[in-house]
């Protein structure tokens, strides 16, 4: 089939021709900017001056020697884990509740999705207002309940700022996890669940020994996708705290943005971006592996 017969193209050759436009578009909008960014990381390119020179690995040396970069990596890990695990667990819980199919569950499912539709920056400002130390609604409620005497600047303290951003991210992403996990739950065989109940398993035992193993692949995929999404996330840490106070909410995405667009240092920003891309690639590889396993 692969050989040329009577001047006609083989199936493989036709296949290559068919993917050619897609490949060209990929090269233009993904490959070129990526290669350009990697190359830029070896230069001292600035946003202000058009001229630049090659500096080899100088940017990488500077970044890895910077003690504040280690802190940025730690903050990124904390944010990614917190902003994935918390909404994941709550989303799973809510999905299990909605999966009971009680009256009004479809309405509740629709209402839950509203959070996900609201733009990230709007959510950021909404939660900044909630957590504001001077006029925030959280302080007012806690003072009214007698829990606090004076207002706490939740976003102005290093020990609470990141937690506030994680809470806001949880509120934003809970519907996303709920929707996908609900899909996974609905794929689990009802007969198996009923059989487990007949055999005397309680709800928790049924969930952990029958339902969860039944949707293991899907659950893992959603978790890894959540990790990747949070690793790329920018809106909430920026709108709520701009990376502060004292770098408490500076994640890799914030670091790249401020280095490029506040400090005008495109070369260094591209360096951090490349390191960031390598970390993302690891998670993407896990995702692809899981995806292949599920399809196998």
């Amino acid at each position: 089939m692969d050989t040329i017969r009577n001047g006609r193209l083989s199936d493989k050759q036709v296949g290559v021709l068919l993917i050619l436009p897609g490949l060209a578009i990929f090269a233009a909008i993904i490959l070129y900017p990526f290669v350009d960014a990697v190359l830029m990381s070896f230069t001292d390119r600035s946003m202000i001056y058009p001229d630049y020179k090659w500096v080899q690995f100088e940017n990488y040396q500077k970044v890895f020697k910077d003690p504040y970069f280690t802190k940025t990596l730690t903050t990124t890990v904390l944010f990614v884990l917190g902003a994935t695990v918390l909404p994941y667990v709550l989303g799973m819980f809510w999905a299990v509740v909605l999966n009971q199919g009680f009256r009004g569950s479809e309405f509740l499912r629709g209402v839950t999705l509203v959070n996900w539709i609201i733009p990230g920056t709007a959510i950021g400002f909404l939660w900044s207002w909630i957590f504001n130390g001077q006029y925030g609604i959280l302080n007012n409620v806690l003072k009214a309940l007698g829990i606090l005497e004076t207002g706490v600047p939740w976003l102005g303290q290093t020990n609470t700022a990141l937690l506030c951003v994680i809470i806001a991210r949880t509120w934003q992403m809970l519907p996303w996890y709920m929707a996908f996990l609900l899909g996974g739950l609905q794929s689990v065989s009802l007969e198996q669940v009923e059989a487990a109940h007949i055999d005397g398993a309680n709800n928790l035992q049924t969930f952990f020994r029958v339902i969860l193993p039944g949707m293991k692949q899907t659950a893992m995929l959603i978790f890894v996708l959540g990790l990747i999404g949070n690793l790329q996330h920018f809106d909430l840490p920026w709108t709520m705290a701009q990376g502060g106070p004292a770098r408490a909410t500076t994640t890799l995405s914030i670091e790249v943005y401020t280095t490029a667009f506040k400090n005008w240092n495109m070369g260094k920003a591209a360096t951090v971006g490349t390191i960031w891309a390598v970390i993302l690639a690891c998670f993407s590889a896990i995702y692809l592996k899981l995806n292949n396993d599920e399809n196998a």
């Binding site: 290559v16 090269a27 233009a28 202000i48 001077q134 600047p153 701009q242 400090n263």
Partner: protein, 440 residues
């Protein structure tokens, strides 16, 4: 096999062409203005009679306090010239970045409002036109004082047209001070602390001093206090000077204010203005535009001094010079603009007496032309006189002429925050500021 090879070549060519197309575009755009400049000028001259639409960029037109005034400015331009003007705006903090991106992207940009803090960065990008060439050196020297022109002059080129010049100093609410038993403003730091203690006793819900402790304004507020304590960020030769005893004393003083509850974390200029307008802040640092916030909140322009007055920054000991930073807005015209002539017309409208007085009356922006600054309404204004007293000793921010000003300010802000949150001693924070600045 031949067909496969041919297919391979086609594929490779397609990839190369695509990449080349992507890569070549910006270079062409960058070169085009220089080579096409005479042609563009010729077109402009030919089309001078035709109404054109120019693009004006900045941030004040986005702010509630000045949005209406900017609308009136543009209406005046339209009426007087028959041309149209489109406003493109961002937040103050994003303006430098957006101007650079827009100029590099080749988008239309004819005139912009820039703060003196970002002026040097935009000028360094080599995108600004010389006003002396656009409107003529005679117009500039006749309209403005030399001292104002100097701020916008870089290496002999008049890249900025003065639009408003004053200082960022401290503003206070006379009603809160009076209620706390203070009929006059504190002059020394000792008095200032005593005043804040009285305000705290009078009403614990009031933040005595909303000094900025976050974002781009934090380092800007810190600088004049550092000078007050006799410190500096840089020496005259550009070397780092911040690791000094005086800087440590200044940071320790900040820490003391935080411990006593006189200042608060998570406070930027936006929060300070909002809380001040609500009567929940006694002192904060701001420019003359503070008036706009009060007017926007329903205070009559003539009554603003009753709730928002400028004062000189308290000093270590009586007789010291009060510190404040120069503040101002300039108008810049872009080298690649096809409508420099029309942009110049807009600039002239903006600094005209009628428009400048409207801006001054409703927003507090002091006019900067010789003629408008001498008007009775301006010279007799009680609100402005407070700012002008501080302007007499005002200095440019130490980072004002640096292209990496934001990077320097970020280092100062972050280390100050570490100290205020008790994660570093004042000595350690100052030493780390110095080490990080030296590494830039």
């Amino acid at each position: 096999m031949k067909l496969k090879k041919a297919l391979g070549i086609v594929l490779a060519l397609a990839m190369v062409l695509t990449l080349a197309a992507c890569g070549a575009a910006p270079a062409q755009e960058t070169q085009a203005p220089e080579t096409a400049a005479p042609a563009a000028n010729a077109e402009t001259t030919a089309a001078a009679a035709e109404p054109v639409n120019i693009v004006w960029a900045g941030w004040s037109g986005e702010e509630e306090a000045s949005k209406d005034i900017f609308g009136r400015m543009m209406d005046t331009y339209r009426e007087q010239t028959g041309n149209d003007v489109t406003w493109v705006g961002w937040t103050w903090a994003d303006t430098a970045q957006q101007l650079l991106i827009r100029t590099q992207g080749g988008e239309q940009l004819d005139i912009a409002q820039v703060d003196i803090g970002i002026f040097n960065t935009v000028a360094a990008a080599g995108v600004l036109a010389d006003w002396n060439e656009v409107v003529g050196a005679d117009y500039m020297s006749q309209a403005f004082e030399q001292s104002a022109l100097d701020v916008g002059n870089i290496d002999g080129q008049q890249l900025g047209m003065p639009w408003s010049m004053a200082s960022i100093t401290m503003v206070y609410n006379p009603e809160i001070l009076a209620a706390a038993g203070w009929d006059k403003v504190p002059v020394t730091i000792e008095e200032f602390e005593a005043c804040m203690a009285d305000i705290k006793s009078y009403n614990p819900e009031i933040v005595p001093y909303a000094v900025s402790t976050k974002d781009a304004t934090c380092a800007g507020d810190f600088m004049p206090w550092l000078w007050t304590f006799g410190g500096a960020i840089f020496n005259d030769d550009g070397s780092v000077a911040i690791n000094s005893e005086n800087a440590v004393k200044c940071v320790q003083w900040y820490q003391g204010l935080m411990e006593k509850g006189y200042i608060a974390m998570d406070t930027g200029r936006g929060e300070a203005r909002q809380l001040f307008a609500q009567g929940k802040v006694a002192f904060y640092d701001d420019a003359v535009v503070a008036k706009g916030q009060a007017v926007n909140n329903g205070v009559a322009p003539e009554d603003v001094v009753k709730v928002c007055s400028a004062m000189e920054r308290p000093v270590l000991k009586e007789g010291d010079a009060p510190q404040s930073t120069m503040w101002g807005h300039m108008l810049v015209c872009f080298k690649d603009s096809e409508y420099k002539e029309q942009a110049a017309e807009l600039a002239k409208v903006l600094v005209s007496n009628e428009v400048a007085l409207d801006y001054f009356t409703n927003n507090g922006m002091p006019p900067v032309t010789k003629e408008a600054a001498a008007l009775e309404e301006v010279t007799s204004d009680a609100y402005l006189s407070g700012f002008m007293d501080s302007t007499a000793t005002a200095r440019l921010e130490e980072t004002a002429r640096m292209t990496n000003a934001n990077e320097v300010k970020t280092v100062i802000t972050e280390e100050l925050q570490y100290a205020l949150l008790g994660q570093k001693t004042a000595e350690q924070a100052v030493a780390d500021m110095a080490a990080r600045l030296e590494a830039l």
